[in-house]
Symmetry: C2
Subunit: 465 residues, 2 copies
């Protein structure tokens, strides 16, 4: 071998374990898996679907998504801005539709808490009775242009972030992040939780709204883009976006009256490293909604979990949900907790991965590997693996550790079926009992079943059988 | 070749150009250079110095440096806290000692500005005349426990950050960062500059001081450690530390009266991404000072530039400066400027590299490569190369991109001489004319000559000839 000959490397097909003894740098992992997870009928449909019609639709869909420049414009009570919840008793929840009876503990707890918060009941028992009797309508956030982390429960009086598409006036909404510990989104509903929610309604929301009115809209794409160069991945790590946002708004907030409220708001922002998560979520929802209903497109527009089922939506099949049972996240548990305590995966926050943040932007966030497991090389490999199932890099989200390439963005159902590579989702792990809170964090993959369902539905719509 | 045999690689000795045609990943660059930069007499002295006495001294020195946990305790007028400048007319400047006559343009401009700011002269001509006649004492910041970026000019009425060692009460000081553009540290001294300095003296300093008194001391090590996981390297990139610090102090600042001043301070902090640089510098100075005068240690305790000369101080030779002529930085220039406009390298900010930040922590900051040149792989390589000349990783400064290894910390004169690897310094590039400001940024290396001088002096102190 002369010194200029390319160095021979080992090519491995299939499971990585086969060559575990070989140093990783010298192995090329082809990672071949049977198409469509071994479902021959779907593999055939997917091959037929993979044509110019789909390619054209997907090009239009991803261009539409990447063209959205969400602006954080307002923080308003949900009932004022979120469609369909102003009258009667409606509460929104995370994930695909699910009836009260089948809901997991944390979501039931959060709905009880929201019922108390709205004053529709005096006691948790009364609240539960109302929900049992169906006197409160429960509906997915996603059906109302909204998203919420974990239980994702949104009540009409809660303030929401309003993300606006300046090009067409479209809106998307997300609840305000309560912080860690005993909070509604993990199903807690005691006095501490309701008191905090009331303060968020009466003080935090109005002060932030007036500050945004005075300051002007915040370009969320630019905020997240900068945070990605500061170790955030926009889902499980949000300290940079939160700090940048707070620092930018602090002078305007400090000018609000009464000054005691302004100070309390700044204290809340100083104490909540995840505050910007919900801004990121509203922004991702607004971006992905630009492709909803785009005929023939196989682009994933939403991934969401309700603690029982995982739901997938695809551009070409509009509002249809493809769902399957979901398991708990695999990850790192806080001391004293383990997999037996974990609730199945929960929350609308996977909308961030749908856009290319979170698990898809792991390379940006080597520090997060200490929180969800793995090491910085794994984080870079995770991002690179997501290139195989996405339509292209997000032009506004360059990731410095991969030489400023854009984060892989826009999951293509056909690419998932072709490669067998499943979307990676960074997630918090909730205790299965209402109100205990977060007990860990980790990485999940979306389940194969929903992609099979989506392909069947998309083929059916095209008259392919 | 079987698949388990290690893959053969090319080993290259000497200049990288020799094998430029070979893919980089397959080349191991031994990077051999003649010891002591080819100076045989120093190579011999260095070999003798490299004994148990030195090793013991260096172990004590680096332990002392790494044990310091600087606290940001106060922001006080320099004349109140910085020793030796309360009486008469003294101005401090960056780098090793230099007479007014030999100073570069930006430093002369800054001293004229400081003279006007103190009210010792009415016009720039009067100020220059006072300085010409030696009626104002000029002295290095480093001789007074202080550090300043670029011209580093510190006047008695200016507010300074006070970094305190809680274990022994030692103090170190740094001026407050004015922001970018037309500022004193680049030699500007017009009304805009003096007005800003007056506001910093009358409003910014007092508000920050009262806020720190109310909030309590800030642990700078923890602040910088967190910022290193957010893309800062603590010298040329400080947006994370600035944002974290602002977010933490914002509620306390917002509570200060009059509220218009509090708001103005928050606006200033929101608009200056480099505000935390000077905090980082004071903290590095305090840490390195713990080793000053530690007999027989070959640890570098300061690197500083006055725009004409580069100065080095070493633990075992106490207050002695080793100096040599300095050139301009090589880097990226702002549009309209080039190397001919550049002032020779300037400022005390290389104290950050002395501790292991800045150029030594490049791996933490892939985004900075867009500012100083290179790519993220270069940044990681830069940090790894600094391991060859340092005493050990800094335990409080893990860098996520290199798998949470501590940043290489504590330059050893003997290691520099042995390897021929020179310390890397991230730096801003000043225009050579006073007051034009920053015209670029880049990376410099410390000059070999000062390490040769240091070895001769240390050998002499040990009676080695």
């Amino acid at each position: 071998m002369t010194i200029l000959e390319p160095v021979a490397r080992i090519i491995n097909v299939g499971l990585p374990l086969i060559v575990e003894g070989v140093p990783a740098a010298d192995v090329i992992q082809l990672d071949w898996r049977p198409p469509a997870f071994g479902e021959a009928d779907v593999a055939r449909l997917a091959l037929i679907l993979d044509d110019d019609v789909t390619a054209d639709a997907n090009a239009r869909a991803i261009t539409a998504v990447h063209s959205v420049r969400p602006q954080l414009t307002r923080v308003r009570p949900a009932k004022e801005v979120v469609p369909g919840i102003a009258d009667g008793r409606t509460l929104l929840h995370a994930g695909p539709p699910i009836e009260w009876e089948r809901m997991c503990g944390p979501m039931r707890g959060a709905l009880i808490g929201a019922t108390l918060f709205e004053g529709w009941a005096e006691t948790p028992d009364q609240a539960e009775a109302l929900l049992d009797r169906g006197e409160i309508t429960v509906d997915p956030c996603h059906h109302h242009g909204a998203v919420g982390p974990m239980a994702g429960v949104l009540a009409p009086s809660m303030p929401v972030f309003v993300a606006t598409d300046p090009s067409d006036g479209r809106l998307a909404f997300a609840s305000l992040n309560e912080g860690l510990g005993k909070v509604l989104r993990f199903g807690a509903f005691d006095d501490e939780v309701i008191t905090r929610l009331s303060w968020m309604r009466d003080v935090l929301g109005p002060i932030l709204d007036r500050a945004l009115e005075a300051f002007g809209p915040i370009d969320i794409t630019s905020l997240i883009g900068q945070a990605l160069s500061m170790g955030d991945e926009g889902h499980n790590r949000n300290v940079a976006a939160t700090s940048l946002l707070t620092r930018r708004l602090a002078p305007t907030i400090a000018a609000m009256e009464p000054s005691s409220d302004a100070i309390a708001v700044l204290e809340f922002l100083a104490g909540n490293d995840h505050f910007a998560l919900n801004v990121s979520m509203a922004s991702a929802k607004l971006s992905m909604d630009a492709a909803v209903g785009m005929e023939n497109s196989t682009l994933v527009t939403a991934m969401a979990r309700n603690g029982v089922e995982f739901g997938l939506r695809v551009a070409g099949s509009g509002a249809e949900w493809f769902t399957t049972t979901v398991g708990p996240a695999d990850g790192l548990f806080f001391p004293g907790y383990g997999p037996d305590d974990a609730n199945p995966d929960l929350g609308d926050s996977a909308i961030t991965e749908t856009l290319g943040l979170g698990g898809f932007a792991m390379a940006a966030s080597p520090a997060i590997t200490q929180f969800v497991g793995g090491n910085p090389d794994d984080a870079i490999a995770a991002t690179k693996s997501m290139r195989r199932i996405t339509l292209g890099p997000h032009p506004a989200f360059p990731l410095p550790p991969i030489n400023f390439a854009g984060t892989p963005s826009g999951i293509d159902v056909l690419k998932v079926l072709d490669t067998g590579v499943l979307p990676l989702i960074n997630t918090g792990i909730a205790h299965k009992l209402a109100g205990v809170g977060q007990i860990g964090a980790g990485i999940v993959t979306a389940p194969p079943e929903v992609f099979l369902q989506a392909a069947r539905s998309l083929a059916n719509r095209r008259g392919i059988s």
